[in-house]
Symmetry: C2
Subunit: 345 residues, 2 copies
């Protein structure tokens, strides 16, 4: 169903299938894919239809990129860091521990070389990606007991995936991989000690606060997690140029929809969590510092072994250093003053 | 040339004229309109052409909304707060002193009622607006002498426009309205004491650092200034629905282009300014606090007199209070840690 030939008519009928890596119960993340599909349909007067699917409908949630690569589906909605085990550089497409925030990640993607770097890695996999969504900084998750120092991490069974899990493992954490539907009972029984998921809006729905009291911030392994619309490269290349443009702009618009929706619903969810007994905590300074050192060690080790990772890391780190020179001068000076004087007006 | 009839063909030829309020020397701001026009052309296979113009080509930079309203041009690129003198509520479309940052403003616009509120105000002016660009937090500008306390603002001749100028006037500042091309000589001669413009990238080009040493942060009157694509309402209503969708998505994509471009070029410009002698300063706490009080007093007074302003302010303030409850818990905790540990990796 892929590899459509180049089409001469100005508004050809196209029907694609697109699967998300995330369950439709996560209405903001899953809704971003639905919004993207709706935008594409609206912009083509209904001529370009993208049928949306949830994990398991066609392939599993972690097989979205593979299914796109081999042409089982033309499109997927997934974060490239799900596939960093295959190509570590793909971590930077979404974000890495102590990485860029949402706005910085978007700037790196479009003006810092990010899109080119990630799409060079994806090309041999027969895929191409567009930025399509961001969660903003994620929360650190729910913990059954307080973390007062680095020592409290030793042996902690923490449901955390990907690169964040690898960094935490260097601090003594035992990372757990558990499907979303199985987290609550594991946390309730004490099979795991902690879980990180997304942010207040999604975390509230899963009810973790009922079985783990302490809600930690910040989720330093996901300071601004970018999602992607990924496409089979032959299917993409077979589109008329103006359909490619429509996909690009729809992805940018859907990207904003997701971040703006989270920013609008997270405050009320946080209030509700706190009203139901969640206690906010910050990770202790020694935990943050040790995790930063562990992350940097990981990046250096991986860059020494993997050329694509090194190219991505060099670009990303240089962008981050520049962004962090400018951010506190102005953006953070404004944000911090506003936070400090909240409620005055 | 406006009020085109509803068109039956699927890809009708449309040619519109669009003028910016900003000179083309500001390549990021002016470039946002050009990018928007290019995106629309690409998405319609060249069938929808938007010709772009700079201030003075058709009307003056501050007459863009009027020209759109009366159909002289179909489209404009301008911030709605340029017209707050006519309808104070239009200030919130762009942002107000001590308002929302760029991400919060975008969330308010799409999910907090912002777009509906602003477009209700624009409808009687025969216009409709889309979000189309954001500068991020702007700098406080260049000052010939240091501001060490509130007393130093008395009689200060400060080139600052709009609502920011009105707030500063309550602190003893004498706001000056000077066209961009005339600022440098006025600052050099001492006719004015200070100037605020945009941020490092644009400020550097105008050379203010050569004649005023102190570069202040943050520009608390513009914490995240949103720009708009504004359209003549009849011209907009005459478009096929899918062309309206294409304009909506192109505006979102151009919005991101502007913010991402600024975020990528401001750090180097800041370094260059500092290397050329600019000295960074923060506004003293008493100045910030007094300005906040003055701004809040202005909002309350205006809300008591103007129903549309009151509706906008009530919505905006409630959104801001919620956003500022959530922001420091996580987003700022992450950003501040990253700023503090810059250069470790």
């Amino acid at each position: 169903s892929v590899a459509a030939p180049a089409i001469a008519q100005s508004a050809p009928q196209v029907t694609w299938r697109m699967q998300s890596s995330f369950p439709n119960s996560l209405d903001t993340i899953f809704g971003t894919m639905e919004t993207f599909a709706r935008f594409v349909s609206e912009a083509t007067d209904g001529n370009f239809t993208i049928q949306t699917f949830k994990p398991g409908d066609i392939v599993g949630g972690l097989q979205v990129l593979d299914a796109v690569s081999n042409g089982t589906i033309e499109a997927g909605h997934t974060p490239t860091y799900f596939y960093f085990g295959r190509e570590p550089a793909l971590g930077f497409g979404t974000g890495v521990p102590f990485g860029l925030n949402a706005r910085q990640q978007h700037s790196w993607w479009h003006f810092g070389g990010g899109a080119e770097i990630i799409n060079e890695v994806l090309a041999p996999m027969n895929a191409i990606s567009l930025a399509c969504g961001n969660s903003g900084a994620q929360m650190g998750g729910f913990f059954r007991r307080e973390i007062n120092s680095l020592a409290d991490l030793k042996g902690l069974k923490f449901r955390i995936g990907g690169l964040g899990g690898q960094v935490m493992a260097r601090l003594g954490v035992v990372p757990q991989q558990i499907a979303p539907g199985d987290i609550y009972p594991a946390l309730e029984r004490g099979t795991i000690d902690a879980v990180e998921f997304v942010g207040p809006y999604d975390d509230l729905k899963l009810g973790f606060h009922e079985v783990a009291k302490y809600y930690y911030a910040p989720g330093f392994w996901e300071g601004g997690a970018m999602l992607h619309a990924v496409f089979n490269l032959e299917a993409w290349n077979g589109l008329p140029k103006h359909y490619q443009a429509i996909l690009r702009h729809a992805a940018e618009a859907a990207n904003n929809w997701m971040l703006a929706k989270y920013d609008s619903v997270n405050p009320d969810a946080l209030k509700e969590l706190v009203s139901k007994g969640a206690e906010l905590r910050y990770f202790p300074q020694d935990v943050m510092e040790a995790a930063l050192s562990a992350a940097n060690a990981y990046y250096e080790e991986t860059a020494a072994q993997n050329e694509a990772f090194k190219r991505a890391w060099d670009s990303y780190r240089a962008f981050r250093d520049d962004a962090l020179l400018w951010w506190p001068v102005n953006e953070l000076a404004f944000d911090n003053f506003m936070a400090r004087t909240r409620g005055r007006g």
